[in-house]
């Protein structure tokens, strides 16, 4: 129960992830623990320090998207639309009051591929500072402002309620679902198309993470490059993808006999106010975010059946996160299975938070916890149960997911089985 506030539940899930172009393929991929990471094919990665990524073999036409939409929209928008179609179909929602339906889509870097490609045209290959508008696509404004993705969703699904893109960097995916949850709690909407999408695999994004040595340079061994919590981890592996959840007010869902995956029971967010990219080893603010999410869900640490970690595979993140779990959950942190699916599908920046929430919903529904691939030599500083290599069957009534991002933002969200909430 949630103190008299309206309650929100997840009734539909759509996912496009590396190695899995649908919810079911995604689930098989992450529970199978087989990394979908390869040498970059989107462009020639030779000049870069990190030459690997978790790419999606995404064919928009296979999802019914038209050539005109493909011309008009960046890849991140197309992936969001495709996921939303799957989520809607999954929810069984056929009619809803358009004025009570909202959109909350997260993205960290928006239409970065389109902006970069068109810049190369407009600047004559980077030679002109004052660029020429003559030869660029007429749809470039839609690339400039990521809010165009929220518009596409609102138009396609006829959502006339509040619509926005949430762009808090790498916590965008959790924060966008939290925003949907808040809109429902506060009575601003009954249904929200909520999720996140990012398609950042472009030369400028790869170069900017190269410059701060955040991504793994393990180019000869792509499948083993993403190794969260492992002693041999060397950074994160860039990924792409999207997930959309249909978030619905509980009574609205029950009244139409909807299948409910889980309830959104808690959310907490904090900023570390410390550094744009650096993290203090003590994980204090992330721990505080977790404690708020747990408080709002009215849970004790022992109630958790699974934690989906941010687990990016950078040296500092995994240590920071381990400390945060201990700070927030005490001894219970040692007993709950934790894993990072980034070991399999890489780090898709803003999108990954929603993809990980989808994993939590499916873990609750199916009683399986996906593993952390490549965790063969645990870092002694990351001494919790990070579910190495193989999936585990376990009843999950409550799942926690955490995210940590540039800007110092820390977010935590709890999903609960409806009967257990």
């Amino acid at each position: 129960m949630n103190g008299g506030l309206r309650r929100s539940v997840v009734t539909g899930i759509g996912v496009i992830a590396p190695g899995g172009g649908s919810r079911e393929e995604f689930w098989q991929r992450i529970t199978g623990g087989k990394p979908a990471i390869r040498r970059i094919t989107a462009f020639d990665p030779e000049p870069f320090r990190s030459q690997i990524a978790a790419e999606c073999d995404f064919d928009p036409s296979a999802y019914g998207l038209t050539p005109r939409e493909v011309r008009r929209l960046d890849r991140f928008v197309l992936m969001a639309l495709a996921c939303a179609e799957e989520a809607f179909a999954d929810s069984g929602l056929t009619s809803a009051d358009p004025e009570r339906m909202g959109v909350s889509l997260g993205t960290a870097v928006g239409s970065t591929i389109r902006l970069e490609e068109e810049y190369v045209v407009a600047s004559n290959g980077g030679r002109d500072w004052v660029v020429d508008p003559t030869h660029v696509t007429p749809f470039l404004y839609q690339a400039l402002v990521p809010s165009s993705a929220a518009t596409e969703l609102a138009v396609r699904f006829h959502a006339q309620g509040p619509a926005a893109v949430i762009s808090t960097g790498c916590t965008s995916g959790i924060d966008a679902i939290a925003h949907a949850h808040t809109l429902i709690q506060d009575g601003e909407a009954d249904v929200v198309i909520a999720g996140a999408s990012d398609a950042p695999i472009s030369p400028i994004t790869v170069a900017c993470f190269d410059a701060i040595r955040a991504t793994s340079p393990r180019n000869t061994d792509p499948e083993q490059a993403s190794r969260p919590f492992d002693a041999d981890r060397q950074g994160f592996v860039l990924g792409e993808g999207a997930a959309v959840l249909i978030v619905e007010e509980l009574q609205h869902a029950l009244a139409r006999g909807a299948r409910v995956y889980c309830e959104i029971t808690g959310f907490g967010a904090r900023a570390n106010a410390f550094h744009m990219t650096g993290l203090r080893a003590d994980g204090f603010e992330l721990g505080e975010a977790i404690m708020e999410a747990m408080d709002r869900a009215r849970l004790a640490p022992e109630d958790l059946g699974y934690i989906s970690a941010h687990g990016s595979g950078t040296k500092q993140n995994d240590r920071h996160e381990t400390a945060a779990y201990k700070h927030a959950l005490g001894e219970a942190a040692r007993r709950v299975p934790i894993s990072s699916i980034k070991s399999v599908i890489g780090h898709s920046l803003g999108a990954i938070g929603s993809i990980e929430m989808a994993a939590c919903a499916l873990a609750i529904q199916r009683g399986v916890v996906p593993p952390t691939a490549n965790l063969t030599t645990p870092d002694p500083e990351c001494d919790l149960d990070y579910t190495p290599v193989t999936a585990r069957e376990v009843t999950v009534d409550h799942a926690l997911s955490t995210g940590s991002g540039f800007g110092g933002f820390q977010s935590a969200m709890v999903f609960s089985r409806l009967e257990a909430a």
């Binding site: 006339q160 893109v165 762009s167 190269d210 410059a211 701060i212 967010a269 110092g408």
Partner: protein, 406 residues
């Protein structure tokens, strides 16, 4: 009546000036910041609202300057002004009670252009270590949080020109959940060369080279809008807490906010303004306020015939034909995208504080039956205002601001 919130500090970095006082005085005098745009030969727009006399080195330390774009410099400076105006020292506050919410639609444009240029001219090793934190949409919120030790939940909202009001709405949600003070608003810096090229294809920009004729919302001559840079940051505090601080201004209570989306093909926007009207009505309803109580409207003022028609229709629906005073002071700044809604809220709060409405300049021949405020107008009973903002694609937002009863 718990969880009410009030604007206690206003920080402005806009074509109308730096700081709330300069901005307000220039605005009342109708001094426009729309000027000829350099290097506009190939562009479909020739003038823009430009922030003159902004020296970023006065507001941002050198270490931070190299990490950030002009859009963040303006947000940092505006936040500094707002905190000073609110007499609020964040270092004296419990950090987990302070939050930052900004609206941002285009991020660090000049920064991003420079780094992509470096990549294509000189290769990956030429790309700045700060590209990953300088360009992305969350940079301003992150930097403000770090500078002022705000450790509460922070946010970044993107809904094009509706973002400034949507950010304010998010501040309200945080305060309803126990937040005490939020630094909230938006800025935009969309006048760098590539950002202008990105806007060029919209077809709604004004091509008029005369700054006095380029942006004339609700006029027969309306033929597009002028872009601009800058915006505003506000300090918004929980009501009781603000009352406990004698030094705090009590500019305006944020009584209600709402957002809707047209959900129509953006190429064919609805002429009836139905969803825009609904946003206005919902904001009034949440404020517990009847349309008859509204003393003035800060309109969105698209400056395109279709956009103006939709807004005039929405106003007619909501006010049932009553001729409420309507002003579009952004005729002095151009449309600032995410900064625009925030600046209009700042303007509205100052109007309530002073009992004067800032004017719509360069009004032209009226195309709609509106009581358009074309000269600064004193309204001694000014107590309740409605602020309207729209974003490209169909975003609608509205906020009701009220004079606080102390």
């Amino acid at each position: 009546m718990s969880h009410r919130m009030v604007i206690t500090g206003i920080g402005v970095v806009a074509p109308t000036g730096l700081g709330a006082v300069e901005h307000w005085e220039n605005g009342l005098a109708g001094r426009s910041g729309i000027r000829a745009l350099a290097d506009s030969a190939a562009l479909p727009v020739k003038v823009a609202g430009q922030v003159a006399a902004f020296d970023e080195t006065e507001h941002v330390e050198p270490r931070l300057l190299v990490q950030t774009d002009k859009w963040s410099w303006m947000a940092l400076a505006a936040t500094e002004f707002a905190l000073a105006d609110a007499a609020l020292d964040p270092m004296g506050e419990f950090p987990f009670h302070l939050s930052v919410v900004t609206a941002s639609s285009s991020g660090g444009n000049a920064f991003g252009q420079r780094e992509i240029e470096a990549l294509y001219r000189s290769g990956p090793r030429a790309v700045s270590a700060y590209q990953s934190i300088g360009w992305f949409y969350a940079a301003s919120s992150g930097q403000i949080s770090i500078r002022h030790r705000a450790k509460g939940p922070c946010g970044v909202i993107v809904s094009d020109g509706a973002g400034g009001i949507d950010a304010l709405a998010q501040a309200g949600r945080l305060i309803r959940r126990g937040g005490q003070a939020v630094m909230v608003g938006g800025t935009e810096a969309p006048l760098s060369p590539y950002a202008l090229v990105c806007q060029a294809g919209q077809g709604t920009l004004s091509g008029e080279p005369d700054p006095a004729r380029a942006y004339r919302p609700f006029a027969r001559e309306s033929g597009g809008f002028v872009p601009g840079e800058g915006g505003a940051m506000l300090v918004v505090e929980e009501w009781h807490r603000a009352h406990m601080r004698p030094a705090a201004h009590m500019y305006a209570e944020i009584a209600g906010t709402a957002a809707t989306h047209d959900a129509r093909d953006p190429a064919a926007p609805p002429a009836d303004g139905r969803q825009l009207a609904r946003a206005m009505s919902l904001a009034l309803e949440r404020a517990g306020c009847d349309a008859d109580e509204v003393d003035a409207v800060f309109a969105d003022g698209a400056g395109t015939p279709a956009g103006d028609e939709a807004e005039a229709a929405a106003l007619a629906q909501v006010f049932r034909g009553r001729r409420v005073p309507v002003t579009v002071p952004k005729t002095m700044t151009g449309r600032l995208n995410s900064g625009g809604g925030a600046l209009d809220v700042a303007w509205a709060a100052l109007a309530l504080h002073h009992g004067v409405l800032p004017p719509t300049v360069n009004a032209g021949e009226p195309a709609h039956d509106l009581d358009l405020v074309t000269r600064a107008r004193e309204l001694p009973g000014l107590r309740t205002v409605l602020v309207v903002a729209r974003g490209v694609g169909g975003f609608n937002a509205a906020a009701v601001l009220r004079t606080p009863d102390r």
